[in-house]
Amino acid sequence: MTVLARAVEASRRYGDVLALDRVSLDIRAGELVGLLGPNGAGKSTLINLFAGLRRPTSGTVELLGGSPADPVTRRAIGVTPQETGLPESLRVGEIVAFAAAHYPRPADRDELLARFGLDGLVRRQVGGLSGGQRRRLAVALAFAGDPRLVFLDEPTTGLDVEARRALWDGVRAFHEAGGTVLLTSHYLEEIEALAERVVVVGEGRVLADDTVRAIRETVGVRRVSLVADDLPELPGVSGVERSDGRIHLVTPDSDRLVTALVLSGVPFSGLEIRPATLEEAFLAITARRTEPSDETRGAGPSDETKERSHA
C-alpha cells in the first residue's frame, strides 16, 4: 500500500525540551489512525512536522515521498485550524472559499457544509456561530481541498455528544470513500469509535502501535482505591499512589486484586473501583516500558527494514 506520510527516526527539540525522540511511523493510504497520548506527549509536534509547520531537528519526515515544506506536496493534505482562531468577521462561505482557492480540485462547498451539518450557514459570520458550529467549520476546512490525507488534532474537544457524533459521521464518510485520516485525541472513546490502528505516544516516543483492540487491552487498566493502614503484597499492581489518606492502586485486573485483598484478611474500608483515566493508563504503560524500552527502540529500525524490503 502507498505510504502517504512517513517519519523516519524523526526527532524534534525545542530548546532543552525533546518533544519527539526518534519517531518512525508510516501512514498508509486508506488508514484511519488514532494518535493517542497525554498532553505534552508529542502528538501536536508530530502533526506539525507532517503539516510542514516545523522541521525535524534530525531524521526525516515525508508526505507522498516529498517534503512537507513544499506547497505542492501539501495539496494532498488537509489540516484543521484551532476553532478559537477562525477570523470572526468573515462569513462561513468566504472562509471555505479562501481555503478551497489553494487546491486544484476543491470539494463542493455546499456538499462540504452539509457533510458537517453546516448547511444554511453560508452567509453567517463566524462571530455569530456557536462553539459547536465553529468546531465543525474548523474540521470541515481540513476537507475543503478534497485531500487524500487529513490531520485532525483534537477535533471534538468540548463538543456535546450529538455534535461529536455528527462530526464522527463526517470523518467516517471521508474514510469510507477511501480517505486517510490521522486523528489525535485525549478521548479513548473517540479513538475507539473511529480508528482502526492506534499509535500511542508518550514522552516523545511511540510506545505502542497496534489495532484498537490490542491497545484497549493494554490500556484497559483500573484504579482501585481504598483506606487501609498497611497492605500486603498484591498481584498485578502496576502503580501505587497515596493521597488524602487513601491508597490508589493501578492494575490491569481489578477482580484478581480485590479477591487477593479480601483473602489476605487485611482490614480496609471505602473500597472504590473505577476505570483508570487515560493519563493513569499511560503512566502504567510508561512504567512498564521503562525497562524494555531499549529493546523496543532496537526493534524499530528492524521493522522498518522489513517494510522497506516489502516496498
Binding site: V72, P81, L90, H102
Partner: protein, 246 residues
C-alpha cells in the same frame, strides 16, 4: 498563482472592511484636518491649497501603510489562524502580495475624503493627468512606510506595534512638513526635514501635482530609507519565520 493572490487580497480586504475602524482612522483625520486648517487658511490660494491637499493625502496614506500594516501583521502573528494558513498549499508570496495589494486599496480609498474636501471647498486645481501622476507618486512615496510597517509588524507584539507605529508616525509626518508647509517650520525642524522619508515622499507628490522641482536631498534620502526599510523588513520576517516555523 494569480488566483491565489486574488484569494489572499480578497481575504485581507474583507477583514479590513468588516472592521472599518482602521479605514476610518486613515481617512477621517486628514479630512478633518483639511476642514480645520487647509480650508480656512489656504483654501483661497490655488497653489497652497493644491500642495496642502497633497500633504494631507500623504498623511492619510502613510497612516494606512505604516500603522495599518504594522497592526495587521502583528495581529495575524498572534492568531492561531495564521498557523493554519501556513499549512495551506501556498508559499509566502500570495499572502505577502495580498497584504500589499489590500493595503494599497485601503490607502487609495482613504484619500478620497481629502480629495472631495479639496475639490468642493478649496480653490485647489489639478488636471486629470497630474492627478494620476500624483496618485502614482503617492504610492511610490508610501513604499518605505509599508516596509517600516512590515518591519514593526514582524518584530513586535500587537500591543507594542500599536504604540510604536503611532510614536513613529506622528513625528515623521510633522518633520516631513505634512501638517505645516516646510517654509513655515522652525529652523531646526527645517534642518532635519530633508532627511526623513515623509519629506521625500511629499516632494515627490508636490512635484507630480504642481510641477515644482523637488529637492535632491529629500529624494535621495527617500531612496535610502526605502532600501534600509526593505532590508529591515526582510530581516524581521526571517527572524520571525525562524522562531516560529523551523
Amino acid at each position: 498563482m494569480p488566483s491565489l493572490v486574488l484569494a489572499h487580497t480578497r481575504y485581507q480586504l474583507l477583514e479590513q472592511l468588516r472592521v472599518p475602524i482602521g479605514l476610518l482612522a486613515g481617512s477621517l483625520f486628514p479630512a478633518i484636518s483639511m476642514l480645520a486648517f487647509v480650508v480656512p487658511f489656504a483654501g483661497r490660494d490655488p497653489r497652497a491649497a493644491t500642495a496642502a491637499t497633497g500633504s494631507m493625502m500623504l498623511f492619510g496614506a502613510m497612516s494606512s501603510a505604516l500603522i495599518g500594516l504594522a497592526l495587521s501583521v502583528a495581529q495575524d502573528r498572534e492568531q492561531p489562524w495564521n498557523t493554519y494558513v501556513r499549512t495551506l498549499p501556498a508559499g509566502p508570496f500570495p499572502r505577502f502580495a495580498g497584504r500589499i495589494l489590500s493595503t494599497l486599496a485601503v490607502m487609495l480609498v482613504s484619500v478620497v475624503p481629502v480629495l472631495l474636501v479639496a475639490a468642493l471647498l478649496t480653490e485647489a486645481t489639478i488636471t486629470p493627468g497630474r492627478l494620476a501622476l500624483g496618485l502614482a507618486a503617492l504610492v511610490a512615496g508610501c513604499v518605505p512606510f509599508m516596509l517600516i510597517g512590515l518591519f514593526l509588524g514582524f518584530l513586535l507584539t500587537f500591543k507594542a506595534a500599536l504604540a510604536v507605529s503611532q510614536i513613529v508616525f506622528f513625528p515623521v509626518a510633522i518633520l516631513g512638513g505634512l501638517l505645516l508647509p516646510p517654509q513655515t517650520l522652525p529652523g531646526f525642524v527645517e534642518a532635519v526635514s530633508p532627511y526623513v522619508p515623509s519629506r521625500g515622499a511629499a516632494e515627490l507628490i508636490w512635484a507630480a501635482t504642481s510641477g515644482v522641482t523637488p529637492g535632491p536631498v529629500p529624494l535621495v534620502m527617500l531612496a535610502v530609507w526605502t532600501a534600509g526599510a526593505a532590508a529591515a523588513a526582510a530581516w524581521a520576517y526571517r527572524r520571525d519565520e525562524g522562531r516560529r516555523f523551523t
